[in-house]
Symmetry: C2
Subunit: 387 residues, 2 copies
């Protein structure tokens, strides 16, 4: 596989951007990423825009990428929107890397953007339910918090996972977000407080759920020749694997898609779970981080909750997870999340993560999941990046 590099990254803060039009929010992240790459706007030869809800929430279904790039005077190039629920911009990064590997372009942009704040709650819930199987699941009340609450219950029962482990994930996420200027939830949440939160779907409280967010993130990718000609700052995208769920798995304590994507990503990158220094994992709910951390091979099945309680996933632990704050506390602007995870890992590998910089990290992993139905996720992307 020909090598693909991440040569520039950019991100807005995640949070409330109701006053900023979608196109401008995206343009902020894109211009930052291009500036970071140290290249001219004119070098961007193709662009992939990840967005999940721009149409159902904002009425602007089409032209999301074209409108954002026009703000920066970037026109004429191939631009399309990639939609894959919460994995939309993770898939945009994949398509950008394939365009480079195919030799179609030497430099490509992938970005994600979402605006979810300022809409009535029922409209946001309906939009999110549109990422499941609407007639069979969403319309029957099986929306995401309900699904993950069931998974939490089964995990707790089967492996004696303490309820406190979920709260510990929340506590860690918030502690990490305190160090991240782009994070949405910069507030200390103790384990005790998390346990006493308002119930959303028993046993999940409001502190077990990621917030509703606005935000944008962007990544500039290049082939090896272009990357090597630039002074410093690049990281390598050693693998970027997308799979769909197989829907054969219905034990509710694991994501078969995560295991399958991770296996292929490790194989492609020539590493194993032990080699991963840190990871950004799709923690849309606290229980999700625990389950995925097992399926990624970081911990034995059933040990994920205990690993959190042992402190292994904290900044100072053996396997730091979501040092950015994760979806849970950094925020989860659907379409932007996957690209945002790549931004975080790239900054960490470059040693430019500021107050939240991890020491000596060389290999990082991102894990992004989209949609859910039939007892598995709809789409799952695992990427491995290295210095």
């Amino acid at each position: 596989m020909s090598k693909v590099a991440i040569i520039g990254v950019g991100s807005t803060t995640y949070g409330d951007h109701t006053a900023t039009p979608l196109r401008n929010l995206a343009a902020m992240a894109i211009s930052q990423a291009i500036r970071d790459a140290g290249i001219s706007d004119q070098r961007i030869a193709a662009a992939y825009a990840g967005s999940g809800l721009a149409g159902v929430l904002g009425g602007q279904e089409g032209m999301v990428g074209q409108l954002a790039l026009r703000e920066l005077g970037i026109t004429g190039i191939p631009i399309m929107r990639i939609e894959n629920a919460c994995a939309s911009s993770a898939c945009a990064v994949r398509e950008a890397s394939l365009a480079i590997r195919a030799g179609e372009v030497d430099v490509a942009l992938a970005f994600g953007v979402e605006k979810m704040k300022g809409y009535p709650t029922d409209q946001v819930l309906r939009a999110l339910a549109g990422d499941g199987d609407v007639p069979l699941e969403g319309d029957a009340g099986l929306i995401f918090p309900a699904v993950f609450a069931m998974m939490a219950r089964v995990h707790m029962q089967r492996f004696s996972t303490p309820r406190e482990a979920l709260a510990a994930v929340a506590e860690k996420a918030h502690a990490n977000a305190m160090l991240n200027p782009t994070a949405q939830m910069r507030e200390t949440i103790t384990r005790e407080r998390a346990l006493q939160g308002r119930i959303v779907a028993d046993p999940l409280t409001v502190y077990d759920c990621c917030p509703v967010s606005d935000g944008a993130a962007a990544v500039v990718l290049a082939n090896e020749n272009v990357a090597n000609a630039l002074p410093g700052r690049k990281v390598w995208l050693d693998s970027c694997v997308l799979v769909s769920g197989s829907y054969e798995n219905s034990d509710l304590v694991s994501f078969e898609a995560t295991r399958r994507a991770a296996t292929k990503a490790y194989e492609t990158a020539g590493v194993g779970p032990k080699d991963i220094d840190f990871a950004e994992v799709h923690d849309c709910f606290t229980i999700a981080e625990i389950i995925h951390s097992e399926d990624l091979g970081f911990f034995e099945k059933g040990d994920g909750g205990f690993a959190v309680l042992r402190g292994e996933t904290t900044r100072g632990g053996t396997k730091p997870i979501n040092v950015s704050g994760g979806l849970k506390a950094k925020g989860h602007p659907i379409g932007a999340t996957g690209a945002g995870q790549i931004v975080e890992v790239a900054l960490q590998l470059r040693g430019q993560a500021g107050a939240r910089q991890l020491e000596g990290v060389k290999i990082g992993l991102t894990h992004c999941m989209g949609g859910f139905f039939g007892a598995d996720c709809g789409s799952l992307v695992v990427s491995i990046l290295s210095k």
Copy 2:
């Protein structure tokens, strides 16, 4: 550029499928394409689903591809949705070809699906306006019929294009659709009747506008090795070029994006406009076919309308255009249109187009446009296929 083949095609009829769920409609076209390819379902290694309006009209924004493929028992593979307004599945074909050229997969599926019937008219119009610049254009009333009416007026004034030329495009489209069992508008419309239609946006009458359609179309692509190992029926995708508008063009009588995409497509395929035996051109409105046929290099700028009146674009003419009936009479299920054009050209090149078969055709072109704002289109795909 490594060679990519179209090894299987399938299409539903276009028209009214209100009784069929979106996923089943898509599955019908997909299963037909896989059967046509003569391969096992398990050979499909990646899938790209083109859909523009599934979320804003049907509430099912995400998982369009996963849900359709699960109907056929195809799970686990990389699946994502490609959205680029009316060029969504033309772009899905492009991404499938890039995945093959990158060596990521050897066989890939690209399909498109849309359900637009059975919704209140204002909802459909609002959904379609979501493919323009909503705050600057749609909200100000500059929706697609208005834009193309302006282009028709300017073209008629500048080049003395007779109003009758537009009616002749409609007459031809309907005559061609009469020979196509998948076409939606199988009714003879004479030039005289077209001229006397109800005005939609002066000078365009209802007979100058494509209908609202449901439909799905699918294409199986493969690399050269796989294609050559299959018995017959393949055609080659010699180029598949996507560009965006440059928005520098504001003369309203040409699409700079069409000219640019066509130039690159001809160059890549090593042919010129004279070598193209027939073409499927994005005739969302009659005037669109005339203008694009000039920008594709088939006729001199300003001669497009006269060429139609001379009969050059009919089945028996020098440059048959939209022998399928085109968007105008075959129908225009937004997300399916681009893949559907590829289906038509592949069938013609294979000599399997039934009553509408053209004789001796060797090279065909598809032209698909998505969105419109800032005096040019948002996305434009030109593909060239050969035997």
